[in-house]
């Protein structure tokens, strides 16, 4: 009787361990496949675009290649035209590769960003560019 009881406890433990290993393996696979490096690219491009804006002078126009961002966004179903946006009221750039969330970063240069859009000439994520112009701050509630 006692020996059978011991075996039952050990078997239960082994089953628990197997279930937990399976669960965490599945969780790692899911998280790994879901992220696709999107957090890294969002963080990188928000800061690099802000770096360009911080060194820019009014009147300048920029075209920045954002292909890696567009590739990740297209995999998660995000429209390519919405991957980068500008908030002139709060002086921040918002980069997003997922449907409901993104990453923001502020620029200290007192300018406004106008005529900004994401261009994808071939319709596919390849050769996607973020185009914008830098002008004097207009203090007119641009968004």
């Amino acid at each position: 009787m006692d020996k059978r009881g011991d075996t039952s406890i050990m078997m239960n433990s082994i089953i628990y361990i197997i279930i937990f290993i399976l669960f965490f393996s599945l969780m790692f696979w899911f998280v790994g496949s879901y992220s696709n490096g999107s957090a890294l690219w969002e963080d990188f491009y928000s800061k690099e675009i802000v770096r360009v804006i911080n060194t820019a002078k009014p009147g300048e126009e920029f075209k920045i290649d954002v292909t890696p961002l567009a590739v990740v966004a297209s995999r998660s179903g995000k429209p390519i035209k919405d991957i980068v946006s500008v908030d002139n009221v709060n002086n921040q750039i918002i980069v997003s590769t997922k449907l409901n969330s993104g990453v923001s970063f502020k620029f200290f240069n007192d300018v406004d960003i106008v005529d900004w859009f994401v261009e994808s000439p071939s319709g596919s994520p390849d050769s996607t560019r973020f185009i914008f112009k830098v002008v004097e701050e207009q203090r007119s509630g641009l968004s």
């Binding site: 490096g37 957090a39 911080n54 709060n90 993104g102 923001s104 007192d110």
Partner: protein, 151 residues
């Protein structure tokens, strides 16, 4: 005899318990790193950029030669910095010119935090860049990190 066998089983369960704890903690940590990544540390680059712009502005506008206090409005107007961003709690500019006139905007506490050892690992702390020439001293710091927002 029976009692001693029970002790053995109970002891083995501790091993299982700790293994499960380790798996849960490891899983959560690994999941967070996999999902969010360690990120791109931009604080020093931003501080360098802010220092360069400040230095150029002070030289161009003759603020290094001031004998009276510099007004904040004049500073923001002439240097082209956005007031809301520099006063958002993540930036600091401190200047002491050769005439001992001091001027600062942003988080005053950064003058201490800039030199704490924790600043390299903890991204809530600022990374600062000092500059000194001809008796003029500038200290610029940034602790800005990207923020996750609804988009």
């Amino acid at each position: 005899m029976v009692y001693r066998k029970g002790t053995l089983g109970s002891g083995l369960l501790y091993f299982v318990y700790f293994l499960m704890i380790a798996l849960i903690v490891g899983g959560i940590y690994g999941g967070l790193i996999a999902y969010f990544g360690k990120g791109y540390d931009y604080r020093e680059r931003e501080a360098n950029l802010l220092l360069q712009e400040t230095k150029d502005c002070f030289a161009d506008e003759g603020f290094f030669d001031l004998n009276t206090d510099l007004k904040e409005d004049l500073f923001f107007d002439k240097c082209g910095f956005n007031r809301n961003v520099l006063e958002d709690g993540n930036h600091m500019i401190y200047i002491k010119n050769k005439n001992n006139i001091e001027f600062s905007v942003g988080v005053a506490d950064f003058r201490v935090k800039c030199f704490l050892n924790a600043r390299t690992k903890n991204r809530d702390y600022p990374i600062c860049v000092p500059y000194e020439l001809d008796g003029n001293y500038i200290l610029v710091g940034s602790s800005q990190n990207s923020k996750r927002v609804a988009a």
